[in-house]
């Protein structure tokens, strides 16, 4: 009988996108962002914004950067719900509600912040509001600046959920 680990995160690399192996939404975002100059970056982001999550470039304690924007159609909003994505009175930075997922996903953000877009696949169990799910998704993380001269950087995350099953 085949067995598989509960959590599997692997980098597929941007070559996989260039070979046409990625989800069309990931390919479209990657192609658009790679063919845009820094002056036009905001216009490039605009059509994809509903599907993106945005986070800072700070990784305190090697944790993924805190999220500040969760697009209306984004995979994270779909997965974790409206209450998580749009807290009425945010008391602290937004993080995914599963600590194991946080830990496993950090490497992708680190690589993106080092300067190369990160494209990878993940299959993992997550806990949301006391319920256990198995989720498989691919994700593209790109570090960008809001303008050519800006000192600021932030990460744009596009996650596409391929499979989601409740296990409890």
């Amino acid at each position: 009988m085949l067995t598989r680990p509960d959590t599997h995160f692997s980098e597929l690399g941007i070559q996989a996108i260039e070979k046409g192996l990625a989800d069309p939404a990931v390919s479209a975002f990657y192609d658009s962002i790679m063919s845009t100059d820094a002056v036009q970056i905001q216009q490039c982001l605009k059509p994809f914004l509903p599907h993106l999550s945005l986070c800072s470039d700070k990784m305190p304690g090697n944790a993924p950067p805190p999220i500040f924007y969760v697009g209306k159609e984004s995979g994270q909003r779909h997965l974790f719900g409206e209450d998580w994505a749009s807290p009425a009175t945010p008391a602290c930075g937004l993080r995914t509600p599963d600590p194991d997922l946080e830990k496993a996903s950090a490497e992708g953000y680190r690589k993106a912040l080092e300067g190369t877009p990160y494209y990878g696949y993940a299959h993992t169990k997550i806990q949301v509001n006391g319920e256990l799910y198995e989720v498989a998704f691919e994700r593209l993380i790109v570090a960008v600046r809001p303008s050519l001269q800006s000192d600021l950087r932030f990460c744009a995350y596009l996650g596409v959920i391929q499979d989601l099953q409740r296990t409890s």
């Binding site: 905001q42 982001l45 605009k46 914004l49 986070c55 800072s56 700070k58 950067p65 805190p66 999220i67 500040f68 924007y69 749009s86 807290p87 009425a88 009175t89 945010p90 008391a91 602290c92 930075g93 937004l94 809001p146 303008s147 800006s150 000192d151 600021l152 932030f154």
Partner: protein, 82 residues
């Protein structure tokens, strides 16, 4: 006598009044914008306001949308907290 009776009622809470659990205080929009500017995050404020909300001033938004935008900006401030 009547006055003394009323004084004793001052601490009375009618039983149909539910105790209020206070949510964290919301920062006023003007103070939030000042904090965003101080943190050098003005570009991000402008970018999200323009790209997602299609206005240049939050006062042009409906109250619900304005609250939503300001909550995103509160998260932005915390996400870049050093």
């Amino acid at each position: 006598m009547h006055y003394e009776f009323l004084k004793r009622l001052e601490g009375y809470v009618p039983e149909h009044v539910r105790p209020v659990t206070r949510a964290p205080e919301k920062i006023a929009p003007v103070e939030l914008k000042a904090a965003i500017d101080d943190a050098n995050l003005t570009e991000m404020w402008d970018m999200i306001l323009t790209l997602d909300y299609s206005v240049s001033d939050p006062t042009d938004l409906s109250p619900e949308k304005r609250d939503e935008f300001l909550n995103v900006m509160s998260l932005l401030l915390k996400a870049f907290d050093r």
